[in-house]
Amino acid sequence: MSFATVFFALLFYAATAILLIGVGMRIVQYARAPAPLKIPTTPAPTTRSGVALRMASEVVFFHSLFKANKWIWILGWAFHLGLLLVLLRHLRYFTEPVWTWVVLIQPFGIYAGFAMLAGLLGLWARRLFVERIRYISSPSDHLMLILLIAIAASGLAMKYIWHTDITAVKMYFLGLMRFEFHPLPTEPLLMVHLLLVALLMIIFPISKLLHAPGLFFSPTRNQADDSRERRHVTWVSAAEKPAAQTER
């Protein structure tokens, strides 16, 4: 077994554990913190099903962002949708036989890779050249974009320029899922691609990537506007005492 085979095996086991446990712990923190008051940004839906629709329009279409700024919206949406398709396309490296719908989306996954890259480059250009956005950017904000751009670019480069033995890569990851070690090809570009993906997984739970689970817990978006009909009390304040004794 080569060094690379063992190193990446351990790295991906560790990265997966950090990603799942880290994000899981964050979600527990979000869920356990009480929302003391009703603060939906109104106009807001008055029912739970309305809230589900509002949330869906945020998650799927980035509705609020659409209202805010069409440039950021189209770039951000192209990036996220591209990323989603690329991730789904990668499922073929983790399934045998490959599911039919994963086979069907393969060509779209390629276009998505370019859309993702274009979106990322556009977002980075805005971060560099729009004065207001440059002002609010920390080094980590630039680095995060560079990381994602490098992942997308190295992936596309393997598809179009410096090919790798993709069957061996698939054997390797199928093996990892059964705790079996198969040899990993050692093309430099593949090493870079895998290293950066593992890095992304590791920093996910301690970075702004937490916006993904965060959105679902955002009280301005996930609360129904029903404060007059339903008395809002959190499990914490309910455990203390009612706000007022019910006189008479």
Binding site: R26, Q29, A33, P34, A35, P36, L37, K38, I39, T41, T42, P43, A44, P45, T46, E58, S64, L65, K67, A68, N69, I72, R127, V130, E131, R132, I133, Y135, I136, S138, P139, S140, D141, L143, I203, I206, S207, K208, L210, H211, G214, L215, F217, S218, P219, T220, R221, D225, S227, R228, E229, R231, H232, V233, S237, P242, A243, A244, T246, R248
Partner: protein, 496 residues
């Protein structure tokens, strides 16, 4: 008149080039021991204030889900950067919502996250120094908690919540704001923000009755502490004498009179405003809110109705049930609480009021959506009712109504520039500059539609506009109460 320049109103509202630090001098007067103590806050900056602040932040993160999620979720996309009226009016980049939040987020990252502890520079984390505390004090008093940015944030991050949390932390270390805290003290001690004692209130209301009798020849009552009345009216204390607020109060009285609804004010809860929300203090907000419950029980009323006040309506509509509920002792056929506009609108719909629109023919009116009504509450049964109902009332009493530009009203409304505990003379520069986007929109309808009056349903908006309108070449009396328009149009024939 002042040592600053009023911004120029141009053809279109421009996104300004950044001018770093131009508003860092803007700070309200710091509170003193006598104003801090009644609210349960230290009288001056405590010795180990850094530790106290970091601990307080930690406590808030555990007890306020919104704050926790908002601290983590921002990706610095920039969607909010051109949405704040204070940024648009001052050009100071710290007034971009995300940059304001980052004053707290940087400290959060430094003391409460791993990357911030290990690599502070990399992730924009910063030590809580005296300088940072100073910036907090300056820029978290340049946010009117209007929530306009939260409409546009893809994660719904609400800068108002961040401002409230930071003000709460500043109060915990003994660096409070005089204006808000002094006023809260008055609400505790006397029952209203203006410190108007019971007998003065009674005199004022008696004066109003005489005035209305003189005007209309009808005996309209403005009752105080009348047990057994059907409705308890809770209204901002500015309504008792400030212009144009009092003309609104006269209007509420006429509506109740014509509808035959018995009502009363309370000297115990003679204030709808609740500045506890501005300083992010649940305890103080609750103490003020409880006075309303106590008054309702004491007077044995069946309904609670709120007068025209923006943040008061937020606290009433969104929080009152949580803070002072349950209100199962009131008449279940009515929502608790109700807005005076809901009451008037229902009466108009039922044809219970006789209105003579032509009484307002000398006015061409537009409506300013107040931020807390627009983005933090509702009226009526359907989402967005808070935009429909006041407009329908105005259209029922005026022949000439024109909306301002669509991106400046409704959920996109611009703050008047004086909300969120900033309506104080020591922040005059901020208030004038922050009014720019609204003044821009007003100028447009003035030129295009000949609008002469700006109607509002918020005591703070009304006071702010009477003060800043002249800076922009308008007249201070161009701001009117919605119920002032109702008052002028309502036909007061003696009831049969």
């Amino acid at each position: 008149m002042a040592d600053f320049e009023t911004p120029e109103v141009k053809e279109y509202l421009e996104i300004p080039a950044l001018k770093q630090g131009v508003m860092s001098h803007s700070k309200p007067f710091v509170s003193k021991e006598q104003f801090q103590e009644p609210l349960g806050f230290p009288g001056e900056l405590v010795e180990n204030w850094q530790q106290v602040a970091v601990d307080k932040l930690g406590e808030l993160l555990k007890t306020n889900r919104g704050l926790r999620v908002f601290m983590d979720s921002c990706v610095k996309c920039g969607a909010c950067t051109d949405k704040c009226h204070y940024f648009l009016g001052t050009s100071d980049p710290r007034n971009m919502p995300v940059a304001r939040q980052d004053l707290l987020r940087g400290v959060y990252r430094r003391y409460h996250t791993l990357p911030g502890k290990l690599f502070p520079k990399l992730v924009g984390a910063m030590d809580l120094t005296e300088e940072v505390l100073d910036q907090w004090y300056s820029y978290f008093h340049q946010c009117s908690e209007c929530r306009r940015c939260s409409v546009y944030c893809p994660y719904g991050i609400d800068t108002a919540e961040v401002t409230m949390a930071t003000r709460d932390i500043m109060n915990a270390v003994g660096k409070g704001q005089k204006y808000s805290n002094e006023i809260i003290g008055k609400a505790f001690k006397i029952g209203n923000n203006l410190g108007l004692p019971e007998h003065a209130l009674a005199d004022t209301l008696e004066g109003l009755e005489e005035e209305v009798k003189e005007d209309t020849g009808v005996d309209v009552r403005y009752p105080l502490d009348e047990k057994g009345a059907e409705v308890l009216l809770v209204t901002p204390s500015a309504d008792f004498f400030a212009e144009p607020h009092v003309d609104g109060l006269i209007g509420y009285g006429k509506v109740f009179h014509q509808a035959g609804i018995s009502w009363t004010l309370s000297s115990h809860a003679s204030e709808a405003a609740n500045f506890g929300v501005f300083i992010g203090s649940m305890e103080n907000m609750k103490r003020i809110a409880m006075r309303i419950r106590e008054a309702a029980l004491d007077l044995g009323v069946k309904r609670i109705v709120f007068g025209e006040c923006g943040h008061a309506w937020r606290v009433a509509y969104s929080f009152l049930n949580t803070l002072a509920g349950p209100f199962d002792f009131l008449d279940p056929r009515y929502p608790v609480p109700q807005h005076i506009c809901e009451v008037t609108y229902d009466l108009i719909q039922r044809g219970a009021l006789t209105l003579d629109k032509s009484a307002n023919d000398h006015r061409r009116v537009t409506f300013h959506d107040s931020c807390n009504v627009a983005r933090a509450s509702r009226m009526g049964d359907i989402p967005g009712g808070q935009f429909v109902i006041p407009r329908e009332i105005i259209k029922a009493v005026c022949n000439h109504y024109y909306d301002m530009a669509p991106d400046t009203i409704g959920e996109a409304t611009y703050c008047c520039g004086g909300g969120g505990g900033l309506l104080t003379d020591d922040l005059m520069e901020l208030r004038v500059k922050g009014a720019l986007p609204r003044m821009q929109a007003l100028r447009e309808v003035t030129e295009e539609n000949g609008v002469t009056h700006l109607a509002a349903i918020c005591a703070i908006c009304k006071s702010q506009f009477s003060k800043v309108l002249p800076y922009y070449g308008f007249q201070m009396d161009q701001i009117v109460s919605v119920h002032q328009l109702v008052s002028d149009a309502i036909v007061m024939a003696p009831r049969q």
